[in-house]
């Protein structure tokens, strides 16, 4: 007996060692690939690897437009990479329709899902399945140059004072000036950050209020060429062409604002971080997103979402990463790196109550985060990519003085033709 016991012990320990070895080798290091343009992606990936040492996430950085192209080519041809798919909120449906995203219903803890802001939760679902969780949250706000406003005799809005577009137009006209009479304004009144994308311009018709897409998620005729739309975009055209308060051309609005050449500037809350880290040399402020007098308040916002490629060789690990990147812990990393606030309702409340955020400029984050309830998701359609691209053409043409009704009519026709293929 006694003799055999050490032997058995020896055998047992050998067995344990072997098991441990197989367990270790079974946990082969996995490398996940992720194509994205997001600042902070490396930091989130690194934190994930701290918790899961056998999984590394390779961040393939590309530019914003190229994220979409890379997805189209890779997912469209059934490639196994990227394992983790970056999905802009409005294309969740489009990718879902094509079968490019794995259902994550069972992969994300229920309390995490419940914590997301409603609009973002809605955007992550297609056909009743959770396909792509949101990773942060954003909203558009109105920035203004207080010094220019003062010079023009305008009282800037309070941090919780939501101007109407009528007020904005009036202020913009007062702000715009061409002191040296060279035909180019020294100061412009108003400009949008993404001046030719539906993302940014959606509230202009929507706040009237009017629809931006038919109830079937496909029809645009009678909607984007309606009288309401023509009215909304005649205003947009006038800003550039008759009132001459908004510049044409491709100079980025952020640069004009930084250069004290733009009085009012509507753009994403993520610019706050830019203006704090590379300080502006004038007094500036942030106010809630404008709306039409008597209309509804609607604010562009939403987030990038992450999904899992169904052809990935590591779907389980990829889903685990997506769960982490959309958690509140990752939410804090996203905020620290570039100032987008978390997708989690609870954290937003904490955020607003944090004494560190009571004073300007950090107060600006609270103003922006306070827009969360007004954020309207972009039109939910499987044909979003076509819808967006063709409308961008139209908005650009309207800026440049093309006839509004005619341009919107043509755009409606072009989008309808593209939507036909989804109707079968």
């Amino acid at each position: 007996m006694f003799v055999r016991k050490p032997l058995r012990l020896f055998g047992l320990s050998l067995l344990i060692l072997l098991l441990a070895l197989t367990a270790v080798s079974g946990q082969d290091a996995v490398e996940l690939s992720w194509i994205t343009d997001l600042p902070g992606a490396e930091e989130v990936a690194a934190r994930f690897t701290e918790y899961n040492p056998n999984i590394t996430v390779r961040v393939d950085k590309v530019s914003f437009r190229e994220v979409f192209q890379q997805n189209q080519i890779r997912l469209g041809s059934g490639s196994s990479e990227p394992d983790i798919v970056s999905v802009d909120a409005p294309v969740v449906a489009s990718y879902g329709f094509r079968g490019w995203l794995l259902s994550l219903d069972d992969a994300i803890p229920a309390e995490q899902i419940d914590g997301w802001v409603d609009a973002l939760h809605t955007s992550s679902i297609y056909n009743g399945q959770l396909l792509a969780p949101p990773i942060w949250n954003s909203a558009q706000v109105m920035y203004y140059n207080a010094a220019l406003m003062e010079a023009a005799g305008i009282t800037p809005p309070a941090p919780d004072e939501r101007w109407t577009w009528e007020q904005v137009t009036e202020a913009a006209q007062a702000l715009a000036s061409d002191a040296d009479a060279d035909g180019v304004n020294d100061v412009w009144g108003l400009q949008f950050g993404q001046y030719n994308r539906i993302y940014q311009l959606q509230p202009i018709p929507e706040s009237l209020p009017t629809a931006v897409l038919g109830d079937d998620g496909l029809t645009v005729e009678g909607i984007i060429d309606s009288d309401d739309w023509v009215k909304a975009f005649t205003w947009f055209s006038d800003l550039h062409n008759t009132l001459n308060v908004s510049p044409q051309g491709g100079i980025s609005s952020g640069e004009l604002f930084r250069n004290s050449q733009l009085g009012i500037y509507v753009d994403g809350g993520w610019m706050i971080n830019q203006f704090i880290n590379n300080p502006l040399d004038f007094d500036w402020g942030v106010a809630p997103h404008p709306y039409w007098d008597g209309g509804e308040v609607t604010v562009p916002g939403d987030s990038w979402h992450l999904g899992v490629n169904p052809n990935s060789e590591h779907t389980e690990e990829a889903a685990a990463f997506v769960a982490f990147a959309s958690s509140s812990e990752a939410g804090r990393i996203w905020f620290d790196v570039w100032g987008v606030w978390p997708a989690h309702e609870e954290m937003l409340a904490e955020f607003a109550e944090d004494p560190a955020n009571a004073e300007f400029p950090n107060l600006a984050f609270v103003v922006a985060a306070g827009e969360a309830p007004y954020v309207t998701p972009r039109p939910l359609t499987v044909g979003y990519l076509e819808y967006e691209e063709i409308l961008s053409d139209a908005f650009e043409d309207i800026r440049n003085g093309a006839d509004v009704a005619e341009t919107l009519g043509q755009a409606a026709g072009r989008i309808e033709r593209e939507m036909d293929k989804y109707r079968e």
Binding site: Q72, G76, G99, G250, I251, N311, E389, D393, N400, A402
Partner: protein, 291 residues
């Protein structure tokens, strides 16, 4: 000795095989695959699953006014830009072929755009042509002339694009002509001079005919490059304003990589391929050396 002869029989294969195999695998097989892809659609089905649709994608190319419009715009663009670039490149080559002091410096400067990528060029020129803040409008105003919209107006946008690509294209092609001009023996030019021919006469009746083969080569290459022009459209105008710069490659890009419809994108490219080959064939026939 017999061994060596046998070896010699395989020499051409040995020299040729790498190039021919690589060309077939990486140039010709993709062309065939592209034509095949045009017969399918995979944009609406599950990833990887494909549906045979016959010639539907080709029919769509001719029926869709935007696609068809892009072919028409490309045709007009090609008919303007190719002769223009070849003509200007010839003149530029003649200019830098002058034997005057300091010419080497100018040649070196003119060579610079050749090395610059389209990305950088597009960024610089997109800004230079801005209606409000652009360098060019600054100069125009200094001269007391009215501001121009350039890329902002359908009547000027395509011309502006032609200008931008010629900033690279003209110096590039002029290198070929310069080499040709330098290869013309001085005896020929000497005798022309003795006969009392002026520089214009010499250029037209002596130099141009001698450059015939280079002109054909450049014209064909330029045609191919411009038919498939993409980067400046993608980076600067995105086809606008009012589709005035909407060239075929940009439409194919949109269909394939924005809308995700690889089938119709392949059909567009297949049709473009046929058009390019036809164009090149005509140019070869017109410019073929007559002996």
């Amino acid at each position: 000795m017999r061994n060596k002869l046998r070896l010699e029989r395989w020499t051409p294969a040995f020299f040729l095989a790498p190039a021919i195999i690589l060309l077939i695998v990486f140039r010709y097989i993709p062309i065939v695959l592209g034509f095949e892809e045009a017969l399918y659609t995979n944009s609406l089905s599950l990833a990887g699953a494909r549906k045979f649709v016959g010639l539907n994608n080709f029919i769509a190319v001719f029926e869709d006014p935007v696609v068809w419009g892009s072919f028409k715009t490309t045709m007009v663009f090609s008919l303007v830009v190719n002769p223009l670039q070849v003509g200007l490149a010839l003149l530029l080559a003649e200019l830098i072929n002058q034997r005057v002091p300091g010419i080497a410096v100018f040649r070196a400067i003119y060579l610079v755009p050749v090395a610059i990528s389209m990305n950088v060029t597009a960024i610089a020129w997109g800004l230079a042509l801005d209606p409000n803040y652009g360098l060019i409008n600054g100069i125009i105003r200094t001269l007391g002339l009215p501001r121009q919209p350039f890329l902002q107006h359908p009547s000027q946008a395509l011309w502006s694009i032609i200008g931008i690509i010629s900033w690279i294209g003209v110096p590039y092609w002029s290198l070929f002509f310069l080499a040709g001009l330098q290869g013309i023996s001085s005896d020929v030019l000497e005798s022309a001079h003795v006969d009392g021919a002026g520089s214009l006469r010499t250029f037209i009746s002596i130099k141009l005919p001698l450059l015939r083969r280079i002109i054909a080569f450049v014209l064909v290459s330029d045609t191919v490059v411009n038919f498939t022009l993409f980067a400046p459209i993608y980076l600067i105008t995105r086809g606008g304003p009012q589709l005035s710069t909407h060239l075929v490659m940009y439409e194919a890009y949109r269909r394939g990589l924005v809308y995700g419809d690889i089938g119709i994108a392949s059909a567009i490219i297949s049709v473009l391929l046929i058009v390019v080959v036809a164009f090149v064939a005509v140019e070869f026939i017109v410019l073929r050396p007559r002996h």
